[in-house]
């Protein structure tokens, strides 16, 4: 999912940065210092999640978890993903400084979309079955959206990458299913153990003495 530095063309990189800046600004505006802490720790879980490998048939893939992050954080997923990807670039050199904008935008926008989808479906069908479907779809949409936007970025950079981009998208189809299942079970677990984690978004936070 990470595009290496030096592959994309300058207009695509600039667009990625502009859109990421907008998304991050919205996300940061919605975070007060109380929730910033939670967002920071969830960003750390997102980072660690990318080191967890899930077997898919004969192969395996690492979790992406952007759908789940979108469900838990909403727009705040944008700055969380940005900082997690920056740390990945720093520690593992996945991606890099200039391509960070595009990488954050592809994952962040699909995370926010997945979060909206989850809340919409969950609101429509508040039954356990409906919730499972909503969670599955949000996990799958998180990966699908990221893969799709990444492919679009590649194609807009260079016509010659079209085939590579479609291969990249197809390779992510099994990951979407796996991610959907994991998100479904995880949301189920969170709702059983700590349901306030999913509702904090709507609640108004009691601000503890911060200017």
């Amino acid at each position: 999912m990470h595009i290496a530095e030096g592959v994309l063309s300058p207009p695509v990189l600039a667009a990625g940065y502009a859109l990421t800046a907008a998304g991050t600004a919205i996300g940061l505006r919605r975070l007060d210092y109380d929730r910033l802490m939670t967002a920071g720790i969830l960003a750390a879980v997102f980072f660690v999640g990318s080191l967890i490998h899930v077997p898919i048939g004969v192969s395996n893939a690492h979790l992406i978890l952007n759908g789940l992050l979108g469900v838990l954080l909403g727009w705040a997923a944008f700055p969380a993903i940005l900082s997690a990807l920056a740390l990945q670039a720093l520690l593992f050199q996945y991606g890099g400084l200039v391509v960070l904008g595009v990488n954050t935008f592809t994952m962040g926008l699909s995370a926010v979309g997945a979060g909206c989808l989850f809340r919409f479906l969950h609101h429509r069908w508040p039954t356990p079955g409906g919730r499972r479907i909503a969670a599955f779809l949000s996990g799958a949409v998180g990966v699908a959206g990221a893969a799709f936007l990444t492919s679009i970025a590649l194609i807009f950079s260079e016509e010659g990458f079209t085939a590579a981009a479609s291969l990249l998208f197809l390779a992510h189809v099994p990951v979407m299913l796996a991610e959907g299942c994991i998100t479904m079970f995880t949301v189920d677990f969170i709702l059983r153990v700590c349901p306030e984690m999913l509702t904090t978004q709507q609640q108004n936070h009691e601000r503890i003495g911060h200017a």
Partner: protein, 253 residues
């Protein structure tokens, strides 16, 4: 755990972190639009030079560079065959186009040049230094806070995941592609999320109690010395040189 030490101590690490971060951003910005092979090669030379100056632990660094090149390898497998253009050679039913090979070559040189520069200038600093340097370079305070806080807790959470996973393994869990494995992994992940959430609440209360006012202080002071300015000027000269080769360079195929 994650932060293997990649470099021996060198004079590059004495350079102010803000200067290093700004130079890395500037050079990467100059390098990404390159189309000329000569310009890319000179950028690669600069990257290699910086990497040598940073005195890396070569085994680890080469391993990192190999990881970065997996994406390049993928492009080499696909682009020369699928990109239309003049035929260079024929492999069975596939024709290899000159344009495709040129594109793949260009991208691989650029990727490696930028990776070398990034490794030498940025990856040799600690995460907290990097966060504070970004803050001094006018990144939003909340974002810097998020980054620093996350960088601190990544280790704690990774450790917690290891303990959870080890506990599951001791009970005979080996992940496969079935409902049980996915359910178990998701439960472990859910447990990690719930615990992390609770931890965030506790930590927040604790730092409020100690008078936290919205930003962290850095232990390392930031000073720009004359040598740092010289370093920045040399880097700017190099960037200008590379751009000059790109725009006024020799015509070639």
């Amino acid at each position: 755990m994650f932060d293997e030490i990649l470099f021996h101590s060198s004079f590059l690490q004495q350079v102010d972190t803000r200067v290093r971060m700004a130079c890395a951003i500037l050079l990467t910005l100059c390098l990404s639009p390159l189309h000329d092979l000569y310009a890319c090669c000179s950028a690669l030379t600069l990257g290699a030079l910086l990497l040598v100056l940073a005195r890396p632990r070569w085994r680890r660094i080469l391993h990192r560079i190999a990881t970065i090149n997996t994406f390049v390898l993928f492009l080499w497998c696909v682009t020369p065959i699928t990109m239309p253009g003049t035929e260079l050679a024929r492999l069975g039913m596939f024709s290899i186009s000159a344009e495709g090979v040129r594109l793949a070559l260009l991208v691989s040189i650029k990727v490696n040049a930028i990776a070398a520069i990034f490794l030498a200038l940025v990856c040799s600093m600690s995460t907290s230094d990097a966060g504070h340097a970004l803050g001094r370079l006018r990144c939003p305070q909340k974002l810097v806070f998020l980054f620093l806080f996350m960088a601190r807790f990544v280790y704690v959470i990774a450790q917690e995941w290891r303990i959870l996973f080890a506990a599951a393994k001791l009970r005979g869990f080996s992940p496969r592609t079935n409902r049980h494995s996915y359910g178990t992994l998701a439960s472990l992940l859910g447990l990690l999320l719930v615990r992390s959430h609770a931890r965030a609440k506790h930590v927040y209360k604790n730092i409020l109690l100690r008078g936290f006012s919205g930003h962290f202080r850095s232990i390392n002071a930031f000073h720009t010395r004359p040598s740092d300015i010289c370093f920045a000027l040399v880097m700017i000269l190099f960037a200008a040189g590379i751009l000059a080769v790109e725009f006024f360079g020799v015509e070639h195929a």
